[in-house]
């Protein structure tokens, strides 16, 4: 949508804060909508995006608090739900491994701890991946009626995923104590890798969100892909050696991030710093691109979502 904002003198301040007790005519900012592609005016587009990002902070915070409150208020077990999936998967994987049903190599942590920690990280990635399309789906009625910065629902989701990871940290801390796992000073850097994991998931999630509004196939495919993706990520098994499977796992962008997060928190020896760096850079660049795609695509999606 060709949308142009021309700030006039004292635009933002007067428009935002004083519009109820409004005094000066035409003091508010001016927006022009037309049929020109906004990509043609990249500088204006970026200015609008940045302004909306700043403007959406408060709303994102409200959305996050709302969703977290609702989530925990209607769940008797509360944070326990953050622990259950990693616990179950760890139990299942450990049993399978002991019975020699699956054959995993040596892990640098006790196996149950390895699976649990990795699953908690994986789960965080998956939440970030599904977050944007879920958020858009549940806010559809609002999106179709009110123009508010669309970034807010995505930011809120990122915050929610991080808070839920915080809950999982309780489990991880208990795990480390139980198994007596030594913690390296590099654990202080682990949050960077976790944040990167969340951003990577969000990047992909934001990219598909507008299309998920249009086609239900998108959400289904995403579900299916996540299940398959788990097997290509060293969550229940350690990094595989050479070979076709090993190559696929290494090409999986989640691998270096998840592995780095795990290594930083435990041994401190990062096995693939360059892979991690490459994914980080790609994520940051990609986030900008997907953000633009998301913003430009949403009106077309909402047009067809009905009201």
């Amino acid at each position: 949508m060709g949308q142009r904002r021309v700030s006039k003198a004292n635009a933002l301040v007067a428009g935002r804060d004083g519009s109820h007790e409004r005094g000066v005519p035409g003091s508010a900012e001016e927006v022009v909508y037309n049929a020109e592609s906004r990509v043609r005016r990249p500088r204006e587009l970026l200015a609008v995006l940045c302004r909306d990002l700043v403007a959406s902070r408060e709303l994102a915070w409200r959305f996050m608090v709302r969703d977290l409150r609702a989530q925990y208020r209607q769940a008797a077990l509360g944070v326990v739900w953050a622990f259950v999936p990693p616990l179950l998967l760890a139990v299942a994987a450990t049993l399978a491994s002991r019975a020699q049903v699956i054959n995993v190599g040596a892990t640098d942590l006790p196996y149950p701890a390895y699976v649990m920690f990795s699953t908690a990280l994986w789960q965080t990635f998956v939440e970030a991946l599904h977050g944007p399309s879920q958020a858009v789906a549940s806010a559809k009625a609002m999106l179709a009626r009110i123009a508010f910065p669309r970034e807010a629902i995505v930011l809120a989701k990122v915050g929610e995923v991080l808070v839920n990871f915080g809950a999982k940290l309780l489990l991880i801390a208990a795990l480390f104590l139980w198994f007596g796992i030594p913690v390296s000073w590099t654990a202080l850097l682990a949050p960077v890798a976790v944040l990167e994991l969340v951003l990577l998931g969000t990047l992909l999630g934001v990219l598909v969100a507008p299309f998920a509004v249009l086609y239900q196939d998108v959400s289904r495919a995403l579900m299916l892909a996540t299940g398959f993706w788990l097997f290509l990520t060293p969550v229940v098994y350690p990094m595989p050696g050479a070979g076709a499977f090993g190559t696929v796992v290494r090409l999986n962008p989640v691998t270096p991030v998840l592995v780095t997060a795990r290594e930083l928190a435990t041994t401190g020896a990062v096995s693939d710093p360059w892979g991690f760096t490459a994914v980080c850079v790609a994520t940051l660049v990609g986030l900008l691109v997907t953000w633009v795609v998301f913003r430009l695509a949403m009106p077309f999606a909402i047009e067809r979502a009905g009201s």
Binding site: M1, Q3, P25, A35, S37, V39, E58, L59, R62, P299
Partner: protein
């Protein structure tokens, strides 16, 4: 009224805006993908042509709205009124023309859609008001006022899912009317809540307007447009048919609506095949037998249903259904000849059924009437007339009434009382 001359009071100017839609859902999704692609590749441009299956939801529509002005959009269903509102709100993209919006646009809808049922009323107020673009400080300042307006009292700290439907709607509206928009778009919404609450909403809207907020109001109800708006635009099939002072625009609209409703002679095509009878015309007449263009509140009238029976019909009954002539218009009344007069026996040939109305109890406005012809105890449908729109002319001082109450006044004093 287009163009934005510097220094003018225009808060909204819509300049030859076009919008195309596709009725085929699957195809519209495909077009959506294509539009997204061309937007991303920088190839999107104003369009002059339609793709297969598309139609113009809006075609070169222009209008301007000044500070504190109320502009009404009127027109039949599918005229493009809501589409225009969505464009003004910045929710969807125009396919041609441009819209210039100065300031914040907010919808007046029951914002209940954004409520989280598990959270309390207070928590929800904060979320909704933030969506409407208010800061924490502004919300704090208005909070008490909103709660007071919504009349939810003690329920403030209870989850919204425990609220009655009315409470939720009131809270939603209280939020909606306490935003600080420069332009408020209203899509036929104040039909909710009880009358007293509605009056309160109107009063609040008037305050907002005095403070300089402009309104863009969509309504099927000519009275709403007449009583609120400074100017009106009559849209039909995406085009502007009339624009200007509400009185003339509404007159044009009513004229055309009523004109379209006439039943053509020999409308046999829609008769239930082989049912044995059909309705040929439905006409209002005065007691002298002259056809009436429109009814007048309090005046006597008759409804003539003429038809033809191809066989002897035993136990015929007629139902006359009168509704408000709006989208999903409320049922005003249904007259059943079977209840009032018992079944009728109709011989072969032409017949007319006359419904006497000692006075017209409808208040001024547009209404629709539909007549059904039925037979037997199980009310087999013989024929049904198309819905016909008709107008009722009002009398002074009755515009806010729900129906027309005929009356007589008399003063009794002293001896008269005994």
């Amino acid at each position: 009224m287009t163009g934005t001359s510097p220094g003018s009071d225009l808060v909204l100017s819509v300049d030859r805006v076009s919008k195309r839609f596709c009725r085929d859902f699957r195809r519209s999704l495909r077009y959506g993908l294509r539009d997204i692609a061309s937007e991303l590749l920088g190839r999107r441009r104003p369009v002059e042509s339609l793709r297969t299956g598309e139609f113009w939801a809006l075609r070169e529509v222009s209008l301007g709205v000044r500070r504190g002005e109320a502009v009404g959009l009127i027109g039949p269903n599918g005229a493009g009124k809501t589409t225009l509102l969505r464009l003004i709100s910045g929710l969807i993209n125009p396919d041609g023309g441009s819209l210039t919006v100065r300031g914040r646009v907010a919808p007046l809808i029951s914002l209940g859609v954004g409520f989280n049922p598990v959270l309390t009323g207070a928590e929800n107020i904060f979320v909704i008001m933030t969506i409407l673009g208010l800061t924490k400080k502004e919300i704090d300042r208005r909070f008490a006022e909103i709660v007071d307006f919504a009349e939810i009292g003690d329920a403030l700290q209870a989850p919204v899912q425990t609220y009655s439907w009315g409470m939720t709607a009131r809270l939603g509206f209280a939020c909606a009317v306490h935003g600080a928009p420069d332009i408020l778009v209203i899509d036929e919404v104040l039909a909710v809540g009880d009358t007293r609450f509605r009056v309160k909403c109107y009063r609040r809207l008037a305050t907002m307007r005095d403070a300089g907020a402009a309104f863009v109001l969509v309504s099927h109800n000519p009275l709403a447009i007449l009583s609120v708006c400074d100017s009106a635009t009559y849209l039909s099939a995406g085009r502007v048919l009339a624009q200007g002072p509400p009185r003339s625009v509404v007159a044009r609209y009513e004229e055309e609506m009523a004109g379209n409703g006439a039943i053509p002679d020999g409308a046999a095509a829609r008769a239930v095949e082989g049912s044995g009878a059909r309705i040929e015309s439905v006409v209002f007449r005065d007691p002298a037998g002259n056809a009436l263009e429109r009814l007048v509140s309090g005046e006597p009238a008759e409804l003539w249903v003429r038809g033809r029976a191809e066989r002897t019909l035993e136990a015929v009954s007629v139902a006359v259904l009168v509704r408000e002539a709006t989208e999903g218009g409320a049922l005003i009344f249904e007259l059943q000849s079977r209840d009032d007069a018992g079944p009728m026996e109709v011989p072969t040939g032409e017949f007319a059924i006359r419904v006497k109305l000692p006075y017209c109890g409808l208040n001024a406005g547009l209404y629709s009437v539909q007549v059904s012809l039925m037979e037997g105890h199980f009310l087999w449908m013989l024929d049904q007339s198309p819905t016909r729109i008709f107008r009722v002319g009002g009398r002074e001082g009755t515009s806010q009434w729900l129906f027309y109450q005929p009356r007589g006044w008399e003063l009794l004093t002293g001896l008269d009382l005994h």
